[in-house]
Symmetry: C2
Subunit: 345 residues, 2 copies
């Protein structure tokens, strides 16, 4: 039986230097919080693990404040209302929330969004119908702007963002080339209908990519960096667009890479090819495009043109290990931690 | 008396390795060309010298084909019609043309544009009312998109592109910070109304820039690269836009710069600050915006809000030397070679 007087949570115990380790986290048990007026007490069902969390572990200025040492690790969650002090939510409602790495948590009711389990599995609210799906949708359509017949290349293509990018590119009439790590992921991309799927671990990757884009690359959706970017850069066409939403290959770097310094050459390539390189965080596009996304993506899921895969790890205590795997590409599909039972299944 | 049976021209004699030298050019005299049907024979008045010409001397793929070894160096010109075999142009007309580095040349009449000397000095057709002015206008307004109160920083600000960028930024209600080499240029930028003008040769340049942009940089108009870019990059605001139309500091580089490799760090800055870095050549915007530019710029010149300076070198034979100076910032204002008399003065 669940202990409803105690909450379990995972804190940032210390900041990592380079690759994070188990020592950077601490699991603790504390008394159950009590909701105040306008708040709800929530029981976590799914915790979403995402690469951006690595950035939050650093004490560095970025688009969001870092997690403080001693604070609960941040994260999106799907949770069930167990106590409500707001008329808008009832016990048993399932909501999209941002409780972080913990079994229970409180949030003001107006900061969570009630989910309709009839519409789609509630886990998709942190996946294909949530932040990762919207990152793909907004970055590809608002920055990448693929035209019919153009070639779109996406890295980490078996992840929740990349798999949506490639499928939406095809829905818009573009050619989709997906890059992933290992034959199993490559096979799945082929199932999804990617025009070409490539394994970046192959010793012939650079040549494979060249052969896969005979007309060059018009849109490269960047969420990896590293040797994939190195192989893509010479293949970009004039006027190519590069939405940059992640650089997971570099998140654990502690010092600058050895020379030569390729920054001046990159700037010259941007100039001579009239490239657009554009960093973004999906929040920027929420106001203008989130509603359309929800509507369109639900339609594509219903008609089978947008498929997704989830990689579910059981138990909050296994979140750190699962997160380490995410940073090295071990997950296959959207990585979720099942923290508690899903009452909608 | 002018010899009308002979033409003088400057050819690309060999490709430079690094900094170009006099040996890379050859001056020769050849018989005067004879225009065919639909063509005009033109006498060069002004030859425009521009940094992009350095790129044309290389045998490298870029946005335009290189000049072949043994061919006339490329370049925009203001010229007088001396013989016409097309009804649209008469002897004595002055036209914007692209004859390259030569005293006479032929072009199909439909490829040149007749100038109205009453409207503005004809030299401005290759300056503030021509390619450099339009580069400033299109890059700043279509890519930089400065909003009232934002901070626009421009390098090579005493050049024909940079001086227009700063002044147009102010016309649009933005703060303009100009960067140039030496106190004389800095003083001129202050005369033009730049909010701040900085000397990049100053030992305190980095700190001077920091002090000049207390609210950070929203638009950096890049036409230089090098240590100016290094100083600007940490000061860019979230959502800053960087139109890149030139990188003159790097044009003579023959090998990659020594490490560390700053490319991954640049990509991370693009990500965390949601930057837009966008290379461009003004030709891309001609169809949509050239007419508006001509109209608006003429108005700004007339009301004094857009001023310009010309740096005129006498004699075609001095073009190579003047061009070397252009690549190291010796010119002050739009660099022109006066190849022949200007009949409109």
């Amino acid at each position: 039986m669940t202990d409803t007087t105690q909450n379990t949570r995972i804190l940032l115990a210390s900041r990592p230097h380079g690759e994070p380790t188990a020592d950077n986290f601490r699991l603790e048990t504390v008394p159950m919080p009590q909701p105040g007026e306008g708040e709800v007490l929530l029981r976590t069902i799914y915790l979403s693990l995402d690469p951006y969390m690595r950035g939050r572990m650093n004490d560095a200025k970025s688009y969001a404040a870092p997690v403080e040492v001693g604070a609960v690790m941040e994260g999106g969650t799907v949770a069930e209302v167990v106590e409500s002090r707001d008329p808008s939510l009832a016990v048993g409602d399932v909501v999209l929330s941002h409780l972080g790495w913990q079994a229970y948590g409180m949030q003001p009711a107006r900061q969570v969004r009630k989910l309709d389990p009839q519409r789609a599995p509630v886990s998709t609210a942190v996946g294909v119908l949530g932040m990762p799906g919207f990152t793909a949708y907004a970055g590809l359509l608002e920055i990448g702007k693929p035209q019919p017949g153009e070639t779109v290349v996406v890295a980490a293509a078996a992840g929740p963002v990349g798999s949506a990018v490639g499928q939406i590119a095809r829905i818009k009439g573009a050619r989709a080339v997906g890059i992933a790590g290992g034959p199993e992921k490559v096979a799945w991309l082929e199932e999804l209908g990617f025009d070409v799927a490539l394994d970046h671990r192959s010793p012939t990757f650079k040549d494979d990519l060249k052969a896969a884009v005979p007309d060059g690359i018009d849109v490269y959706f960047e969420n990896v960096g590293g040797h994939v970017w190195d192989a893509v850069l010479p293949r970009l066409n004039t006027y190519a667009r590069v939405p940059v939403c992640g650089l997971v290959a570099h998140y654990n770097e502690t010092e600058a890479a050895p020379g030569p310094d390729r920054m001046p050459r990159l700037m010259q390539t941007i100039l001579t090819k009239s490239l657009t390189i554009r960093g973004f965080i999906q929040t920027e596009f929420v106001k203008a495009h989130y509603k359309d996304f929800q509507h369109e993506a639900a339609g594509w899921i219903a008609d089978g043109s947008l498929q997704y895969k989830e990689d579910v790890v059981e138990g909050l205590e296994n979140a750190p290990e699962a997160f380490f795997g995410l940073l090295t590409g071990k997950n296959f599909g959207k990585l979720l931690v099942q923290v508690g039972d899903d009452p909608t299944l």
